[in-house]
Amino acid sequence: MSVITLESVKKVYKLGENSVHALRGVSLEIAAGEFVSIIGPSGSGKSTMMHILGCLDRPSEGRYLLNGKDVSALSRDALAEIRNKQIGFVFQGFNLLPRTTAVENVEVPLLYSRPVMHAHERRERALKALAAMGLSDRADHHPNQLSGGQQQRVAIARALVNEPSLILADEPTGNLDTKTSIDVMQALQELRARRGITIVLITHEPDIAAFGTRIVAVRDGVILSDVPNVPRGLPQDAPVALAAAG
């Protein structure tokens, strides 16, 4: 069953007199358990795609079905609930709350879950998610006491905590060095392998996109190519591939 179905989605932004066509008719189907890398240069429309896929924005035209349900025309609050329950976000800038411990950061999505969750249950689930990311011993650290990789893994734990069917990663390695980038990507691969979570990765770096099972190239608001990929990420050949990428 498809997790994501986009049917000729268009997105037009009005900037004063001018209209900007960010997406010019995109159709895409992503099945459960896929690791799809969406790649494209800036201005290609990949960010707009990401916002629509993440239910942060609504298409101007066309339909978006998430887990078979049309979410194109839902209300703000209904979209908020879908984001909370079905989608886990991993951002480029980590977006952890400052002066807040790792475990409290992971708890944030649970604060907005309905029905309201007990504090000790929130804490339990957050600790479990942190443990899954190998960060049990960092639970009480503040973001500024963690390395970039650790921060991003806290962010992944936060994306996982509500057990979503889809994780959207928007340039997750943009602020990380190469070695840490590989760690984070491998963590995502592991999630897919162990839990069958569908992962959509937005990036402009081909060697990061190469961690996916399928690569969708976007340019000027349309899909240029959509090809399956043998994911890289075996620990031993990673340095070689990166060295080649420069």
Partner: protein, 511 residues
């Protein structure tokens, strides 16, 4: 919880916004305290002026009768009435010797440890227990028709019954007489006014100070002790100006009384003067007079009310009670006592008895109105002042509220990214708005509580250092917190709505 954590994360700004609220609430609390203090001070002043005093006198001078021919002797013992005065006696026997009669008739009533009668130098003018050419003590004191120059129709039981009326503050029984007193062992003497009274009298006469010793206490009144408090004038005349007479013995009716205190005036406006009724006077327990003169009747009962406004109702209740107790029924039967409020006495002063009688007879309620009008007009002035203070407090609270709003707007701007993140992670608009409103309320309430602390401190200092009367009531404090919380909600709503309406995409891009 979340709101509290957010505040702790932004503690400097939160503290500043809180400060605004604290100042506002402190101003509110202080102004309410000052307003209430002023109200209470005003009430106290009215009380001190005697506006809450009710005087009950034996007899009834409103009844139109000739003093000397009235068979019932219903003659009011008031300022307006001429009284029997020992000084008015004409014939003084040169060879007066009261000793046998004292021994026969009166010795059993004297204190067992009192001075032996024979060593006290008898004086014909100051012994109502002895025979004179005027009516004898027995004749003058024995029944209601001839007591102490007035119709003594009131009793101690009447006084006790009056004490049970709701709204009554103090009840003091009184027997009054003009007497001559001596310093023991000397010929130093003074002719003055004697008040048989009770321990609570200074509570009624709030204009008094006690420069030496103390006033009568309950034990002395209960035990009919032979103790005496001197008015300032009496003390000065007998012992020298400014002297401390405490411990000396003064003779009254040949009986030794120990001086235990002196009464002076608190106010420069009322200077003790010879001939006045308060400071050219002596005070002894009313029970001692009862014992020595075998009296069972009183000349007067002084009553104060808890509140100035109650005076009229209490006076009415006393009249009804006494009529019942004295078996006076029907409108035709006139009272054998008179209930006078302070206002009536003020009106009566300086008027000729006839005129006063006419005024009292015809304008029985106008005087009451006067007191109430005075009270109402003072209250209005006070309200004006309170409104002014409340206005100042309202302005400072408004400023405090705007401070809170300012902090929140700043906070929304600074935390745009956080808000965007929370929205992306599934927070609804309501969740975000609630968080900011809660923060506003939390700042306001904590600021408000601090404001109460500062307000109480400020009121206390104003009272201590500037002698302004300020009374902080729990109600005012609760009101202040409530106002702070409401302000928090009011001024928190707009920033909160702005935060809730943020576009998460834009917000997440915000640096």
């Amino acid at each position: 919880m979340m709101a509290l954590k957010a505040l702790i994360r932004n503690r400097t700004q939160a503290a500043l916004a809180m400060l605004g609220m604290t100042v506002g609430v402190a101003a509110l609390v202080t102004s309410l305290a000052l307003g209430r203090g002023a109200q209470e001070a005003l009430d106290e002043q009215l009380r001190a002026a005697g506006a809450n005093l009710i005087q009950i006198t034996a007899g009834n001078y409103k009844v139109k009768r000739e003093i000397d021919t009235d068979p019932e002797g219903h003659i009011g013992h008031t300022e307006l009435e001429p009284q029997w005065r020992p000084g008015g006696m004409s014939a003084i026997p040169a060879t007066y010797n009261p000793a046998p009669r004292i021994g026969d008739v009166f010795a059993p009533r004297c204190r067992s440890d009192g001075m032996p009668a024979e060593i006290i130098q008898a004086h014909f003018e100051d012994d109502p227990m002895a025979i004179h050419d005027h009516p004898t003590a027995r004749q003058r004191l024995g029944d209601a028709s001839a007591g102490l120059g007035s119709a003594a129709t009131l009793t101690r039981d009447d006084a006790k019954a009056i004490a049970g009326i709701a709204g009554v503050q103090h009840v003091v029984s009184g027997v009054h007489e003009n007497v001559r007193i001596f310093v023991q062992g000397t010929q130093t003497q003074w002719f003055t006014r004697m008040h048989g009274t009770e321990a609570a009298l200074p509570e009624i006469r709030s204009g008094w100070t006690i420069p030496h010793g103390r006033f009568l206490n309950d034990g002395e009144v209960e035990g009919a002790a032979q103790v005496m408090v001197l008015g300032r004038v009496v003390s000065d005349r007998l012992f020298g100006a400014g002297a401390d007479p405490v411990g000396h013995t003064v003779l009254l009716w040949h009986q030794p009384f120990k001086v235990i205190g002196v009464i002076g005036s608190r106010s420069w406006a009322t200077q003790p003067a010879a001939g006045d009724d308060q400071f050219d006077a002596i005070y002894v327990p009313v029970t001692t007079i009862d014992r020595l003169l075998n009296l069972s009747k009183l000349n007067s009962i002084s009553v104060t009310t808890d509140s100035v406004g109650d005076t009229k109702q209490v006076a009415k209740a006393i009249t009804d009670l006494l009529r019942r107790r004295h078996h006076i029924t029907g409108a035709a039967q006139s009272d054998d006592f008179q209930v006078t409020t302070m206002a009536q006495q003020v009106l009566g002063k300086g008027l000729s008895p006839d005129l006063a009688r006419a005024v009292m007879g015809n304008l029985s309620s106008v005087d009451q109105l006067t007191v109430e009008q005075l009270s109402a007009s003072l209250s209005r002035t006070n309200w004006t002042m309170l409104a002014l203070l409340a206005g100042v407090a309202a302005v400072s609270l408004l400023v405090g509220g705007i401070g809170v709003m300012n902090l929140l707007l700043l906070s929304v701007t600074q935390r745009t990214r956080e808000v965007g993140l929370r929205i992306a992670l599934g927070a609804r608009g309501g969740d975000i708005a609630l968080q900011f409103v809660l923060e506003a309320v939390l700042i306001s309430v904590i600021g408000g509580l601090l404001g109460i602390v500062f307000g109480v401190a400020a009121s206390g200092s104003l009272q201590r250092f500037f002698h302004w009367s300020a009374v902080v009531s729990p109600g005012a404090a609760a009101l202040a917190v409530l106002v702070a919380a409401l302000l928090g909600i009011t001024f928190g709503v707009w920033p909160a709505r702005r935060a809730a309406a943020l576009d998460p995409i834009e917000a997440l891009r915000h640096e």
